[in-house]
Structure formats: structure tokens, C-alpha cells
């Protein structure tokens, strides 16, 4: 059984991930994504009628908290170390119009 993912969907997903794909890449990825999804679809063949749904790998683990106690931050210098662009103690990014 092979799924197909049309190019419009691939384009949309690429846009959501801020990726720019050319026509050839769209072609390639629509094939690859279809293959991946078909593979994942195998999971649907398992009978889960008697399995309780969970959102976490370790189903028995619940209520893991930390106390509201300060831990030292790493500081601006360390935080900005890997940033491609900075200004003063700020991260610098391409201009963003207000709102999202």
C-alpha cells in the first residue's frame, strides 16, 4: 500500500518549517514523505483495543515536579555564544513585523 502526498501539502509543510524547496525537491520529498507515512501506517495494524491511550513513553510516570528554587542562569555571554548574530546582549534576527 503506498500513500501519495501531493506537492501542495509538501509545500505547505515546508513553509511551516520555513524551508524553501524547488520543484525537484518537492518531487523528491513528496515521494519520501509518502514512504515514511506508509511505514508509520504499519502501526495501525496492531490491535490496541485493550491498550490505554498515553501521551508519554513511560505510562506509569506522573507528577514530576521541581521546587520553585533559583538555579544560576548561564548569563548573556554564554547564552549568545552560538548565536549567528548579536548586538550588545541581544540576539539579532532579521526584521520582524509586529504580530504573528
Amino acid at each position: 500500500m503506498s500513500k501519495t502526498i501531493d506537492k501542495t501539502t509538501v509545500k505547505h509543510v515546508a513553509h511551516l518549517s520555513r524551508l524553501e524547496l524547488n520543484d525537484k525537491e518537492l518531487e523528491t520529498y513528496s515521494g519520501q514523505l509518502a514512504a515514511i507515512l506508509s511505514y508509520i501506517d504499519k502501526l495501525n495494524e496492531i490491535d490496541t483495543k485493550d491498550v490505554a491511550p498515553t501521551s508519554h513513553a513511560i505510562a506509569s510516570l506522573k507528577n514530576v515536579f521541581r521546587k520553585d528554587v533559583l538555579k544560576p542562569s548561564i548569563g548573556a555571554k554564554e547564552s549568545l555564544k552560538n548565536a549567528p548574530a548579536t548586538e550588545g546582549d541581544f540576539f539579532k534576527v532579521p526584521q520582524i513585523i509586529e504580530g504573528k
Binding site: 510516570l61 532579521p94 509586529e98 504580530g99
Partner: protein, 476 residues
């Protein structure tokens, strides 16, 4: 045609915990940019978020105070979007199993009471802060705010006017103040409000085209923004213009709303369960314990003030609107029996001072003992009511105790009859002509004589005594 407005509000509240929602970074306001960041709140690979227990407890407290049901199994989700205020490209939020749901807040708009349903209260993390240097083609990001614990409190579209929206916010802030979970400071951004607003012909059951309104930085701004938007929408329908579902910003300078005009694609957040956080379950016993430990909330306090102090419901409502104000009143009422007098002073001169100084009762610096001492001085006629008002102002201005102000200014009222008699005699002999006028039937002349006496005593003579003694001396 007659239109009605349909409004739903979404409030974001920063919880006043010491540390962020999922890491140990400080939540202190106004620190140097990016000084309060770590691998977790910067979303570095391999870092693991762990939920702040206090933030969770605060959230449960707020949920219960807003009469919400607590979800059996609480789960966090990732809300995915690309925007530089999110270092991870997703926000840890809650989607289909929010912390709580189905609550309500009762508001009174004028004389009308109304129940506003709360759709959900959920916990999430705040985003960082973007700055846009003027004239430059880049933006700057500060992640100190990123990861701060945020409560989202969403109403059903139950508000039917900008006034109701304002009253709801006031009530909500009042309740939150009692719970002491946030400083609720809109200027600092610890309380923010977005609105959904649409209009429809009265009687119509289908909702109109909804506009999301943002960028309102005060409760008054919310009201003005909604008023403008409701009028704009009704006018557009009248002009046969097609309304579009969009986000608009309130422009506080121009007093208008402006379309964001961004080509907004349908929002596609691709929520999915946050695999780094386990689910949370609050057992019934804990829920009942938290509920029992909730402080007395504004409504209960209002009822008690009416019963215990014989106040009108209006007075009690005003006094209990702020937890500190209510506490101040009660402290005064413990050592001064006339509750109505305290209420009058608090709601009159003192509240006026709070408003002009944009200060809470605590910042005003006038102690409850100081106010009671002042009221007792009026009762014993040591000072007049008029003097007391001046003393109050001076006490607030100089942050001195009212009793000390009275002493320093030599303001004590003269209630010693023999002293007043002396002054009255002096004035009567000096103003012989006016006295003659009075005796010849020009009764109004007495006002002038009283004025002269008050002037002699620099306003300090007890007016009642002056009147009495003067009339006696004039032979009545």
C-alpha cells in the same frame, strides 16, 4: 438595525513564582537582556524541562477560585510556530487536556449581575521579548521573559458590551489579587488581555465575523478598543462592506484599531503532546484541600462587610475590590467603631489620593492607626472635619503620622470656651457697626462676624462653639 456585540476575552497572567515554568532561571523583572536564561529556556538540544511545582499550585488555585473543574489527566502540548520570540520554535502550552475548564465569574455591571462562563484556564510558558530598533532592518531578542509561567484564562463569548468586558477584567483582577499569585501589573506586562469581538443583529443566534483585538495596554484601553471596534463593525455592515476575520491592533495614540494586514494563513500550530513532560494528576482530596484553603474572596467579603459592619452593598463592593484596601478597612474598623465614617474617608479623600498618585493603599504610606487617630481627633473636636482633610493631605504628602502633622502645624482646634470668648469679645468691640446692623435685624451680618473670629484664630476655633458663644454675646 439594532446590533448586539459579542465579546470573549483571553487574559494572560504571569505567575509570581521565583523561577520560570520549566527551569530554575529567575523571573525578576527589568534585568539586563538575556541574563536570565539557561539551556532549558533557550531550547538547547538535550535540555529537559521540569515543571515548577509552585506554578502548578498557583494555577490550580486560580482555577478553583474561578469555579473551574480540574482535568482528571493534565497534559502539556507543543504549539508549533516559527517566530523569533520562541527559541525552540514551539511553545509549551496545553491543547486538548487543559489544566481546568468550565468555570465562571460573576460580575456586576451597574445594578445588573451577570455570570460570565470561563471556558478554560491553562498553564503555558511565556515567549521572549522582541525589540525593533527604529530605522533598522533587524530585530533584537531578549529571552529573559521566555519560559516564565503564564496562565491563560479564556471566557466564553458571554460579554455583551465593552463595559461588561471592563467589569469582568476588574473583577478578575480583584480575585487574582486576593489569591496573591501575580502582581497583575499591566504596565509591566504581567497581565495582558486580548479580545474576540463580533457584532450581529439583535436576536440573531449565529455569530458574526470575529475580529481578534490585541495590543490594549490597560483596562481602559480594552474598553476603548472594543467600543471603537464594535462601532466600526456595525458601520461596515451598514455600508454593505464585507467584514473579514482578522487580527487588529489597538492604536492608543490615534484611538483606532488597525488591521495587521499580514497575509495570515490559517493558523496551523500542529499541536502534539510534549514528550519531555509527563502527565499530571491531582487527586480529589488535594483539590478539596486547596479549595478549602482559598482565601475569603471579594464576594464573600462583601457579604460579610454588609452583615458585620452594616455597610451598604455598594460601599462593601468598593472596599473589597482590592484585597489590601479591604484589609486596611478592617484594621481601622477594629479600633474605630463607626465603620461608615471609615468607609467614607477611604472611598472619598483617600481613594482620590490613590488615583491621583496611581498608588495602592500600601504605597500611600498612611497607616491604619494614623487614620483612626485622625478620625478620633475629629470626634473629640480637637480638629474640624475641614482641618482633618488638610491634615490627611499633608500626612500623605510628607509620609508623616497625622497626629504629628496636627502638632507641627499647630492645627489643633480651639475648643476651649474661655479662649473663644476672648476672641469673640475682641471682634464684637472692633466691629461695632456690623454688630449694630445685626441687632437692627440684618441677620446675615453674623456671617461676617464669624469670618472675623475664624480669621483671628487662623481657622482653628471650633465653629460650633463660635456660633454658640457669639449668639449668646449678641444677646440671643
Amino acid at each position: 438595525m439594532n446590533y448586539e456585540t459579542v465579546i470573549g476575552l483571553e487574559v494572560h497572567l504571569q505567575l509570581s513564582t521565583n523561577t520560570k515554568a520549566f527551569c530554575g532561571c529567575s523571573t525578576k523583572f527589568g534585568q539586563p537582556p538575556n541574563s536570565q536564561t539557561c539551556p532549558v529556556c533557550l531550547g538547547f538540544p538535550g535540555s529537559l524541562p521540569v515543571l515548577n511545582e509552585e506554578a502548578f499550585n498557583y494555577a490550580i488555585k486560580v482555577a478553583l477560585a474561578l469555579n473551574c473543574k480540574i482535568q482528571d489527566l493534565i497534559k502539556f502540548d507543543r504549539k508549533n510556530y516559527y517566530y523569533p520570540d520562541l527559541p525552540k520554535n514551539f511553545q509549551i502550552s496545553q491543547y486538548d487536556m487543559p489544566l481546568s475548564y468550565d468555570g465562571f465569574v460573576d460580575i456586576s455591571s451597574g445594578a445588573k449581575r451577570k455570570r460570565i462562563r470561563i471556558k478554560r484556564v491553562h498553564l503555558e510558558e511565556d515567549a521572549g521579548k522582541l525589540m525593533h530598533p527604529a530605522g533598522e532592518n533587524y530585530s533584537l531578542v531578549d529571552y529573559n521573559r521566555g519560559g516564565m509561567p503564564l496562565l491563560e484564562i479564556v471566557t466564553e463569548p458571554d460579554l455583551s458590551s465593552p463595559e461588561e468586558a471592563y467589569d469582568y477584567l476588574t473583577k478578575l483582577k480583584s480575585i487574582l489579587g486576593y489569591l496573591k499569585v501575580s502582581d497583575c501589573d499591566m504596565e509591566k506586562g504581567s497581565l495582558r488581555c486580548d479580545a474576540n469581538i463580533s457584532v450581529r443583529p439583535r436576536g440573531e443566534t449565529k455569530l458574526g465575523t470575529k475580529v481578534e483585538l490585541k495590543n490594549m495596554n490597560s483596562f481602559k484601553g480594552v474598553k476603548l478598543g472594543l467600543e471603537y471596534e464594535s462601532k466600526r463593525q456595525v458601520a461596515a455592515i451598514g455600508d454593505n462592506e464585507k467584514l473579514v476575520q482578522e487580527t487588529r491592533l489597538w492604536d492608543v495614540e490615534k484611538n483606532i484599531t488597525v488591521s495587521m494586514r499580514s497575509k495570515e494563513e490559517a493558523q496551523d500550530y500542529r499541536y502534539f503532546p510534549e514528550p519531555d513532560l509527563v502527565p499530571f494528576v491531582v487527586d480529589k482530596i488535594t483539590i478539596e484541600k486547596v479549595r478549602k484553603d482559598l482565601p475569603e474572596l471579594p464576594e464573600a467579603k462583601t457579604d460579610r462587610f454588609v452583615k458585620e459592619f452594616g455597610l451598604s452593598e455598594y460601599d462593601a463592593n468598593v472596599l473589597t475590590s482590592d484585597v489590601d484596601f479591604a484589609g486596611y478597612f478592617e484594621t481601622c474598623a477594629r479600633s474605630y467603631k463607626n465603620a461608615k465614617t471609615i468607609a467614607n474617608w477611604l472611598m472619598g479623600d483617600i481613594m482620590a489620593q490613590m488615583n491621583t498618585r496611581n498608588a495602592g493603599i500600601k504605597e500611600l504610606g498612611l497607616t491604619a492607626d494614623g487614620l483612626v487617630a485622625l478620625l478620633k481627633m475629629i470626634d473629640s473636636q480637637a480638629i474640624s472635619g475641614k482641618m482633618a482633610k488638610e491634615v490627611l493631605l499633608e500626612a500623605i504628602e510628607t509620609k508623616k503620622d497625622p497626629a504629628i502633622v496636627v502638632k507641627e502645624k499647630g492645627l489643633s482646634q480651639i475648643s476651649d470656651s474661655s479662649k473663644i470668648e476672648e476672641v469673640v469679645s475682641v471682634v464684637i468691640s472692633r466691629e461695632a457697626k456690623t454688630v449694630a446692623d445685626y441687632k437692627n435685624g440684618k441677620k446675615a451680618a453674623i456671617t461676617f462676624l464669624i469670618g472675623q473670629i475664624m480669621k483671628e484664630t487662623r481657622g482653628k476655633a471650633n465653629p460650633g462653639l463660635v456660633n454658640e458663644i457669639l449668639k449668646k454675646k449678641l444677646g440671643e
